[in-house]
Symmetry: C2
Subunit: 418 residues, 2 copies
């Protein structure tokens, strides 16, 4: 049995709307039809199994459909879909249990707030190939977050310029570097040339120091064949990671890639906010991320504390809990990628809010490269912030004998890293 | 140059927000960075080229972000992206020009309302393989809409039960039959068995009458390899059409399929409403459908007049105009699939609202199969309604000597087909 939980908002009856969803999304039809029998409908019909009322609201989430109503009833409704009606294909799951619900008349809001899948989905999907343990093994990091940064500006560097910047970041001691998600393979920086310019820097550094920095190349392409060619280029050059823009390639792109991939798949969720930012509409991240983890994401970008984007801290915390909670086993957990306006100063609050684990990739852009002492001092400062946070020492105290952290606090504590 | 038009809503300055979007979505970064030069940024920077103010609103589209503000400024903002910054890959276009905009702080709403692509996109993408002319040629229909219906119930028929229903529908004289979009390949009706049960009915009928009914099988699968196996099964059995749930397979799924497809691709847009139903957020259909048409959709479902779903008639009309307007040439036009609660009674208003063309696929579910005289009379009634509408004769008048239409009016005119 597959269980979906919908947060329904309607000027009318929540119960009636729940029944309509269950009917429309399984056996329902316009009118009674010849040949339609109760027996066969019962085999695959979805069923409303629980309705948990919520306080009504005076504000319609779809305001144009409020009509004359001034109060809107709300409830969380559990609907069970027989596995036989859907199977384990994720496009069937999306189509049947989600696809049509946003088109139904008579609602002023609907949000998918929970999804519980049976174990058959574990067997049917690959899940992450490298995941948390693979990410730490490949970077050689232990007992602290993987410290990462992003090559900026997002667009506009020639391959050799990018490589020079990467060289500086590697020397600074970062564990992980990524292309901005908007950098894929434009004419001024074809992926092939970027790989050729960057990978020797990574491999040289590895040969000299034993430390192989993980570089995530932007391999996304709407055409899976092209994306595989991009993947192969990175792998053949000795690379071990790729940024995939999951919304822009879709289930098909990721499913195709994962089956053939030798790279750690780092998900950027650009475009996701349109599906979640209005609290009465769309999806909770906890639902949506299940699809992508089953399909094989290793590292999942999820914002952080005090980000430069719209997302409130409590929403980030729920996202963190979602990606780090097993769906079926610990092997399907994705590495949370905490980023946006980070410089280390958010480490204590991140630890406090997420339960103290350092199993994360901590992405700092300006927080590292714009450190007054240069990127090397920036990396040191971020590591110091995490040491302090793990030890429960206030950052100000720890900064007294850690000058790089002191400089970061001076420069970024008022939010300038964002 | 690629031009996007964003409808921005903010309690602050629209101009500032427009500049922020242009910066964030191209060369922008957190803070000034070493190595960043004006020259390289200028090469690929997006630019605000026009701001057309709209009346302010008192209602925030993202209400949780209204703060203390009581009025929200609005404008349509044109931003140009150099083709060199994006290229012609649709995943890059989606990521760069759309992906991040929904995450930007300080807005209370943003909707993508227009997108103009340069001719390089025409050369880079296949577009429809069959399109309007192919759909009419394969069904043999001339000078009227292709009349289609849907096998119902959506879920719960065994393959032989579906085939029996299809047999009845073929005998009724329909041109087109489709699986409900929720029917793909569940355990009780594997696609292979459904194809084996249905195609002989289609081919027998063709042999007897010369008319080959187009049957659209639900081939969608999140895994493109599986979807291709489904495609091949249909093609090898003599089928010529497939329902693809575009949101559930993504750009990657459709791009992969189209390159290898021998079938007419009939798009069901389930899940789309979440992106468009709130008028202050998400996408206009005219923007979103461009991606899918470039990727190769032949037939595009777009609702109709007086549908059973939430969509107002004027929104349907805009959708109709969108799919029937060439992007670069007439060859890239998709066949509009007009459906939901249709029974023929909407034909006059459909013609009046869309300019009189009968180049469409008119999908009736209950409007055909629940006709009091049976599905055969239902098909006749729908054809009669279109004859009357094309001739400009009121349906009531035409019904005087067309008894099937008279029965339809009697049964459905109060909206019961919906």
């Amino acid at each position: 049995m597959i269980r979906l939980t919908y947060r329904i908002e309607t000027p009318g009856s929540v119960e009636k709307m729940a029944t309509k969803i269950a009917s429309d999304q399984s056996t329902g039809t316009f009118v009674a039809l010849p040949g339609e029998t109760e027996e066969l409908k019962a085999r695959v019909a979805a069923r409303v199994v629980a309705i948990r009322p919520l306080p009504p609201t005076a504000r319609a989430s779809f305001p144009d459909e409020a009509g004359d109503a001034v109060s809107f009833n709300r409830a969380d409704v559990d609907i069970d879909f027989p596995l036989d009606a859907i199977g384990t294909d994720l496009s069937a799951l999306m189509t049947i249990a989600v696809g049509g619900v946003f088109s139904i008349k008579g609602m002023t809001g609907i949000r998918i707030v929970d999804m519980k899948l049976p174990p058959e989905f574990a067997a049917a999907h690959p899940g992450p190939q490298f995941g948390v343990s693979g990410s730490f093994a490949l970077t050689g990091v232990k007992n602290r977050p993987i410290i990462g940064t992003i090559v900026k500006p997002a667009l506009g560097l020639l391959p050799h310029e990018t490589a020079e910047m990467v060289d500086e970041l590697i020397d600074a001691g970062v564990d992980f570097v990524k292309d901005d998600e908007k950098l894929m393979s434009p004419a001024y920086s074809p992926l092939k040339e970027r790989v050729a310019a960057i990978m020797p820097k990574i491999l040289d550094h590895e040969q000299k120091t034993g430390k192989k920095v993980m570089y995530a190349f932007g391999i996304s392409h709407a055409d899976p064949d092209e994306m595989m060619r991009n993947h192969d280029m990175v792998l053949e050059a000795g690379g071990n990671c790729a940024v995939v823009n999951i919304n822009s390639i879709g289930f098909g792109g990721l499913a195709f890639l994962r089956k053939r991939s030798g790279l750690v798949l780092h998900a950027h969720r650009n475009g996701w906010d349109v599906l979640t930012r209005h609290a009465g509409l769309g999806f909770e991240f906890s639902v949506w991320q299940q699809f992508w983890r089953l399909l094989g994401i290793d590292q999942f970008q999820i914002n952080g504390i005090r980000v430069k984007y719209w997302e409130p801290d409590e929403s980030f915390v729920r996202s963190y809990q979602a990606v780090t909670s097993p769906l079926f086993s610990g092997a399907d957990v994705a590495l949370p990628v905490v980023g946006s306006g980070q410089w280390g100063g958010q480490a204590p609050d991140t630890i406090a809010a997420t339960g103290g684990s350092t199993n994360l990739l901590y992405l700092c852009g300006g927080g590292i490269v714009s450190h007054p002492g240069g990127p090397g001092a920036g990396v040191k400062a971020v590591k110091q912030a995490w040491e302090a946070a793990v030890a429960g020492v206030p950052l100000g105290t720890y900064a007294k004998d850690h000058p790089e952290l002191a400089q970061s606090i001076e420069k970024f504590a008022d939010g300038k890293a964002a």
